[in-house]
């Protein structure tokens, strides 16, 4: 058992955390304002939505698939829920979030059905379902943006909750949104499921070798439905939370979001070949991506160049993980 004491140093999460720390120090040197509480709180706030979505994508990616349908599911669940709340004049928080997550799960089961029943490639399935859902939403439900004047106040108030409030030197206050806690709780739950339950290990087994997983006695149908329904539920939940945080519901929201989220998950050490990835790594990856984009904004770099940065991050992070996985196999 020699060498095991140093093994943790080679873990992807530790490497990613190290790079993240280095990047934070570098950014802090260039721009000392980075370390101000205001900026850090804002940064954490930006982690919430992309982070919750990344948890779902992580699940799909560990199983060896890739999901590009979650932004569409998120926007559909969000828009339908808010339309419903307005229609019934409902004033509550808990039920709408349950409804959004359930809608996401139902849409996710559509993905699971095609992936399991027809053994289709998840990328194609989710491209198709994403397009269908977005099309239906705009064609059947509507295209108008629900602005702050119509937006349910309960949702806005809920999302305004802060968990920490600090008084700045100039007398103003900065708060850390309580939504960060929601994100952390969901992450902790998923971490527990992936690491300590049989169905979670089934996700890894499926990503390692589907045939072997079925021979070992995993019920692949159950595992695949679990994966896509949970991913859909997380997307739906994140969708509603997002509109609560920005005080409007736009049925054309989240376009291009899939790239950011997938970049974050890959950056967090998940393998595009499946079988590898962790919640902690993903959270670090999300933080890194958000931080890079945030720094680009602070440095007043044009948004078009942010697309370039995200693209570069995806390519480099994928190259590194692919190199790691190939080397491991040799």
């Amino acid at each position: 058992m020699t060498g095991n004491k140093m093994a943790w140093l080679r873990k992807s999460e530790v490497v990613i955390a190290g790079i993240l720390l280095l990047a934070m120090i570098l950014i802090g040197l260039v721009n000392p304002a980075f370390w101000q509480m205001d900026n850090l709180f804002g940064l954490l706030r930006s982690n919430v939505i992309i982070g919750i979505m990344a948890l779902g994508v992580l699940l799909v990616m560990i199983s060896g698939g890739i999901d590009v349908s979650f932004p569409a599911f998120a926007v559909a669940a969000m828009y339908l829920t808010i339309k419903g709340m307005l229609y019934f004049d409902y004033n509550g928080v808990f039920l709408p979030f349950v409804a959004a997550a359930t809608m996401g799960a139902l849409l996710g089961s559509l993905n699971a059905f095609f992936v399991y029943k027809f053994r289709m490639i998840p990328l194609i399935v989710t491209l198709g379902t994403a397009s269908m859902v977005r099309g239906f939403l705009l064609g059947v439900v509507g295209t108008s943006i629900i602005n702050i004047n119509k937006m349910p106040d309960v949702l806005i108030d809920f999302a305004k909750t802060d968990v920490i409030t600090l008084t700045r030197a100039d007398g103003g206050t900065s708060g850390l949104t309580a939504m960060v806690v929601v994100y952390l709780v969901l992450a902790a739950l998923l971490h527990f499921v992936l690491r300590h339950t049989m169905i979670g290990r089934g996700v890894y087994a499926l990503g390692g070798d589907a045939e072997a997983a079925s021979r070992a006695g995993f019920d692949l149908r159950k595992v695949i439905f679990f994966i896509y329904c949970v991913a859909g539920a997380l997307a739906g939940f994140a969708g509603l939370l997002h509109s609560s945080m920005i005080w409007l519901a736009n049925p054309r929201d989240f376009v291009g979001m899939e790239l950011d989220v997938i970049a974050a998950v890959v950056l967090g050490g998940a393998s595009i070949f499946g079988g590898r990835g962790s919640v902690i790594g993903t959270m670090l990856g999300v933080f890194m991506l958000v931080m890079v984009k945030n720094s680009l904004i602070i440095m007043k770099i044009d948004t078009t160049w942010q697309r370039v940065a995200v693209g570069v991050i995806i390519v480099i992070a994928t190259a590194i993980t692919a190199w790691r996985d190939n080397r491991a196999k040799a």
Binding site: R195, T197, M198, R201, Y204, A212, R215, A216, G275, K329
Partner: protein, 483 residues
């Protein structure tokens, strides 16, 4: 189609039983029936003297039947410990995973087998032999009473096979029966106590291993006597005809020392030696794939510079590599495209491929090589190992070679196909005057098909023998004593 027809198989408690048969004979189907994956249309399965009725995969495991598949069915992305414990945890219908228990189960599994394995390594980092140990250890954890091993020695080295056999006998000593599925004669004869041979879905022979020898198993497996006449070649007047290929003081520093080699038209020369003897490097040098060689290469008496494979092909050298799957074939392409892949430049003098001529060549080759297919469009992936090897051969013959270098020409090919490939190679040598250099680990293959054998060791030729004066035992003993 009937995959299995009225087959009975008896396996006694604690015996090592061999199931022999060629590819496609129904071996895999029989395993799948025993493991509950397929339901038979007729007949019964009896375990411990009782009929068990319909057998499901889980039911089969409950009765103590464990299959170790060729690909081992392991999870490369998970640790050895988790792989070992996975099945036990699933059987116990656990919902929550206890990592301490995983470790206990894994430690017990490794102890039962009596081997050393690092439990924290990811399985994909292990060697093939290591993965096999994990698979065997896992099978033992399921209280197996019959372990079925599907072609367990395919990817193992000689030494690893010995270790495997020791472990198999050790398992047997605990009263666990082993069904060893194979088409390698020597291994069957060495390890088993009884043999059952199936062919085309029928049982054709059964009995104690002592009643069988290689020739008899071959006859049962193929349904025909495979004649093994030695290859005879009469030297022409060497004063007037130069050798087809001659190497003078050929060396690639760091790979092999200067060697002199002459192969005449119609000769089949065997090259034997352990892995790392430099035999593959010599072949690669002759095919222009090791540039920077020193010494001279003469083809039909004319010196040629073989700096690239293109030079070598132009000079009439063809090389059929060891690993046809990774180096030779495009599995998802048709037979035709695979065959023509070296000939397109010749077929398209003005950029456009001469389709009629291409089709004609493919049809001619399929007929000559007797490839079992109805059309040249059939994907190579769907062919058996023997037919795939013929496609590779055909591809090189289409370049009109004068020298054919074969590296492991029948690795992974079953007995019947093997004999057919040997016949084709001999015919090519006799009728077309090809000079053949055959590299192989399979000593009997060399003895049967070559007129002389060169032994290589540590980058040097150490001995040469005419095949008529030697036997496979003699050569094998020599190879073993080389240090």
């Amino acid at each position: 189609m009937v995959a299995l027809n009225d087959v009975s198989l008896n396996i006694r408690k604690g015996e090592i039983h061999c199931l022999a048969g060629e590819n496609g004979s129904g071996k895999s189907t029989l395993i799948k029936v025993m493991s509950g994956v397929y339901q038979p249309d007729g007949g019964d399965i009896w375990i411990d003297g009782k009929p068990v009725g319909k057998l499901s995969p889980i039911g089969s495991i409950d009765h103590g039947v464990q299959v170790i598949y060729q690909d081992f069915s392991l999870f490369g992305n998970l640790t050895v410990a988790e792989n070992l414990a996975m099945n036990v945890q699933l059987r116990e219908k656990k919902k929550i995973l206890n990592w301490r228990r995983v470790r206990e189960i894994a430690t017990e599994a490794v102890n039962r087998l009596g081997v050393e394995l690092d439990l924290d390594t990811d399985v994909e980092k292990l060697s093939t032999a290591g993965k096999q140990l994990v698979a065997i250890a896992r099978a033992l954890m399921s209280d197996a009473r019959l372990i079925i091993m599907d072609e367990p020695t395919t990817a193992l080295t000689g030494k690893e096979v010995e270790t495997l056999f020791r472990i198999v006998r050790d398992i047997q000593a605990r009263g666990i029966a082993i069904l060893f599925v194979s088409h390698k004669m020597r291994e069957m004869l060495e390890i088993s106590e009884r043999i059952t041979v199936i062919r085309n879905g029928n049982k054709v022979a059964e009995g104690p291993t002592g009643d069988f020898d290689e020739a008899l198993i071959t006859r049962h497996m193929t349904g025909a006597d495979i004649i093994s006449e030695p290859y005879v070649w009469t030297a022409p007047n060497t004063a007037t005809t130069p050798p087809r290929i001659e190497a003078r003081g050929l060396t690639v520093p760091g790979h092999f020392d200067p060697v002199d080699l002459k192969i005449h038209a119609g000769e089949i020369v065997g090259l034997s030696g352990l892995l790392g003897s430099g035999r593959t490097e010599l072949a690669l040098a002759l095919f222009g794939m090791l540039p920077g060689y020193q010494g001279k290469i003469l083809i039909d008496g004319v010196e040629k510079k073989l700096a690239t494979p293109q030079d070598a092909i132009a000079a009439g050298v063809a090389y059929v590599p060891e690993d046809r799957l990774s180096e030779g074939l495009f599995l998802t392409q048709g037979i035709d495209r695979n065959m023509l892949s070296t000939s397109y430049e010749r077929l398209a003098p003005s950029m456009v491929i001469d389709r009629d001529r291409a089709d004609m060549l493919v049809d001619k080759m399929i007929a000559e090589m007797q490839i079992a297919t109805t059309s040249g469009k059939k994907m190579v992936r769907e062919l058996s190992g023997g037919n795939q090897q013929r496609v590779v051969l055909a591809r090189w013959l289409l370049t009109n070679p004068r020298i054919l270098i074969l590296n492991g020409p029948t690795v992974g090919v079953d007995v019947g196909s093997k004999a057919e490939i040997h016949r084709i190679i001999r015919e090519l040598a006799v009728q077309q005057g090809l000079a053949v250099l055959m590299i192989s680990d399979d000593v009997p293959e060399l003895i049967q098909n070559c007129n002389r054998i060169i032994m290589m060791h540590r980058g040097r030729f150490v001995d040469e023998k005419p095949c008529a004066d030697t036997s496979d035992n003699q050569i094998s003993t020599m190879l073993r004593t080389l240090k």
